[in-house]
């Protein structure tokens, strides 16, 4: 039972990390392989902030979010947009795929060079605190993280559905040409969407600090989970990402409980492959050519 709850909580967090990926794919049809690396960067940023200013992670969001957004915005503007423009007419823009794959490897190893391979951790007031319900031990930071994830998901969903910007983003995602005919600057929207996606990672990075060690490859674990979630939940669907996250979280937790942690990871991958073979568009995604 405890495993299930932990799974749900962790799953919420996974869902949060997948949100950005889902959004980016939904809008630009780009699978950002470097997603995990961006999460890693956000965690390092957060870590540095805590170590230098000693600020509480949740407060630091005020600083982190703009940084995250800027990083995302410019990654898209400088690196990805040029290739998207060049491959405008090609049905499958593989150049972007390769670019993000290269970015992934580059960022990971670059940070390895900068910070070394040591696992770092930053302690906050409530790291390692635990909530006891009945006979179950639930980690408080995890609970807070879960709540933060829910709130962020809700906010993002509201942004996409109710605001003008959100509608512009969704319009661009559905039909790029129609959107540009309506006066939407498609590439600017891409920048914004990417920025928002990375901002979501900024939140994720912040809430994960009390829970995980920070090291250059920490992002990879979340990266693969995020891909699985996005495929299960449907590319481009925000609620789908959260639900997919919960599913993955629970499965992983149960598998870890009955088998061991490394087999749990293998189980996730197997489910991923099965999901890809059976229904590439996921549970809630758009039925598109992809």
């Amino acid at each position: 039972m405890e495993a299930i709850i932990n799974g749900v909580l962790m799953g919420g967090v996974y869902g949060l990390t997948a949100l950005g990926l889902s959004l980016i794919f939904g809008v630009m049809k780009v699978i950002n392989f470097a997603h995990g690396s961006h999460l890693m960067i956000m965690m390092y940023v957060e870590y540095c902030l805590i170590k230098s200013i000693g600020i509480d992670p949740y407060l630091s969001l005020l600083i982190v979010l703009p940084i995250a957004y800027t990083i995302g915005y410019f990654t898209q503007a400088i690196l990805i947009n040029p290739i998207l423009k060049a491959e405008k007419d090609v049905r499958e823009p593989l150049g972007v795929l390769l670019l993000t794959a290269g970015l992934w490897i580059f960022l990971n190893n670059f940070f390895l060079m900068l910070f070394g391979a040591n696992f770092k951790s930053a302690d906050t007031i409530y790291s390692n605190t635990v909530l006891k319900i009945n006979k179950m031990m639930i980690s408080k930071p995890l609970l807070y993280a879960f709540l933060a994830s829910l709130i962020t998901t809700y906010l993002l969903n509201w942004l996409l559905r109710k605001t003008k910007l959100g509608k512009a983003i969704r319009a661009t995602g559905q039909d790029r040409e129609a959107a540009s005919l309506m006066g939407i600057n498609v590439y600017k929207i891409y920048n914004i969407a990417f920025g928002i996606g990375i901002a979501a990672l900024g939140v994720a990075g912040t809430i994960l600090i009390p829970l995980f060690y920070v090291h250059p490859f920490v992002g990879d674990v979340f990266d693969m989970r995020a891909f699985v979630i996005v495929v299960l939940g449907g590319l481009g669907s925000i609620p789908g990402a959260l639900l997919g996250g919960l599913l993955v979280g629970v499965i992983e937790s149960l598998a870890g409980h009955f088998l061991n942690m490394t087999w749990a990871a293998a189980v996730i991958y197997m489910i991923f492959l099965l999901a890809l073979f059976i229904k590439p568009s996921g549970m809630f995604g758009f039925e598109k050519e992809w």
């Binding site: 490897i105 060079m113 495929v231 490394t262 197997m270 890809l276 992809w290």
Partner: protein, 340 residues
């Protein structure tokens, strides 16, 4: 390489003698270089060239992006090594068996994955190699045969025993891998100028149109994949016999898969010389950087190099270095040709 439109062998034509000279140089290198570490680098360069050429069958000719291709090398390495350790079967034969098994695995994974579009296919291939690695790392014994999980397998040292695919000096390994590279190159060349080659290109560029012209695209992609997987397995065995130690993170890893893909693409995917060019330029770069920058912080320096170059290539030279290389090559051959 440019086709000689004249059709007959003209020894004065630089298109013929330049490649021959290059070949001669390659043959003579071991006779000139005596340092063991440099020989090791040369062997690795050729090994990577073979890997990229094999990758190219699928990633270049067939137009898909396999990003987890090292899985097949891993299968080959493990099969031949296990057969050798447990049954004393010489790796020369074990290599071929590994190849066959690798092809079977490839078909198994190929049939469902070829239905997927570009990025999904890449994701699936990544998931597959990681899954394979994780399963191998967590398994100590399969059907009673010891696999040793993450600790890997040591190939028993037999000294200089050519029949057991072990050599005392690097020079033998060099010629073996050189022969393999020429073989794979030759097969690439033949395929490119054959029905298979044309059909793969067609299926890769416009699948619907290709099918309307009578091409069973999936069948041809599977053929390309099988050829590729077979050679990857053989190369896996070669590596096992070269370093005499294999472990999952080393041979069936995502980073090796990415290295191969990046090299082939930086060189020029889909071309004949592109992958070779990629290997010949990037491997020395990586080895040199490894020599001068050591320490745990720089473990990933070669990966940083490859990935930063691929980012640049994707932004500025999507067709790969081969484009620039060809211009220089034609410039020289035209000058030489005019002289003769």
């Amino acid at each position: 390489m440019k086709d000689n439109s004249r059709g007959d062998i003209n020894l004065v034509d630089p298109n013929y003698y330049l490649p021959l000279i290059a070949l001669l140089i390659l043959f003579c290198i071991p006779l000139v270089i005596k340092s063991v570490s440099w020989m090791q680098i040369m062997v690795l360069i050729l090994w990577y060239a073979c890997l990229t050429l094999s990758w190219n069958f699928v990633g270049g000719f067939a137009g898909v992006l396999p990003m987890g291709h090292a899985a097949y090398a891993g299968v080959g390495a493990y099969v031949s090594t296990l057969l050798f350790i447990n049954y004393g079967l010489t790796p020369w034969v074990g290599m071929l068996i590994g190849g066959v098994i690798s092809v079977l695995v490839a078909l198994l994974i190929g049939v469902p994955t070829f239905k997927l579009h570009g990025a999904y296919y890449a994701l699936a291939s990544i998931a597959f190699v990681e899954l394979l690695r994780m399963v191998t790392e967590n398994t100590n014994k399969i059907f009673g045969i010891k696999i040793n999980g993450a600790r890997g397998l040591l190939i028993p040292l037999k000294g200089h025993s050519p029949f057991l695919f072990q050599f005392g000096e690097k020079i033998y390994y060099y010629y073996v891998i050189l022969a393999m590279m020429l073989l794979i190159f030759f097969i690439s060349y033949k395929i490119q100028k054959s029905k298979l080659g044309y059909y793969l290109v067609a299926g890769g560029e416009e699948q619907e149109a290709a099918e309307s012209l009578g091409i069973n695209v999936t069948k041809y992609k599977l053929i390309a994949l099988s050829i590729s997987a077979f050679f990857m397995a053989i190369l896996g065995t070669f590596y096992a016999q070269l370093v005499l130690f294999i472990y999952p993170q080393g041979i069936m890893s995502l980073s090796l898969s990415f290295e191969i893909a990046f090299m082939a693409i930086i060189g020029g995917r889909g071309t004949l010389m592109g992958p070779i060019l990629g290997a010949f330029t990037l491997v020395p770069l990586a080895e040199l950087s490894r020599m001068y920058l050591s320490g745990s912080r720089f473990l990933g320096i070669h990966l940083m190099l490859y990935s930063s170059i691929i980012i640049l290539v994707m932004l500025y030279m999507p067709k790969g270095l081969i484009g620039a290389f060809e211009k220089i090559y034609f410039f020289f051959t035209n000058k030489l040709f005019k002289k003769s």
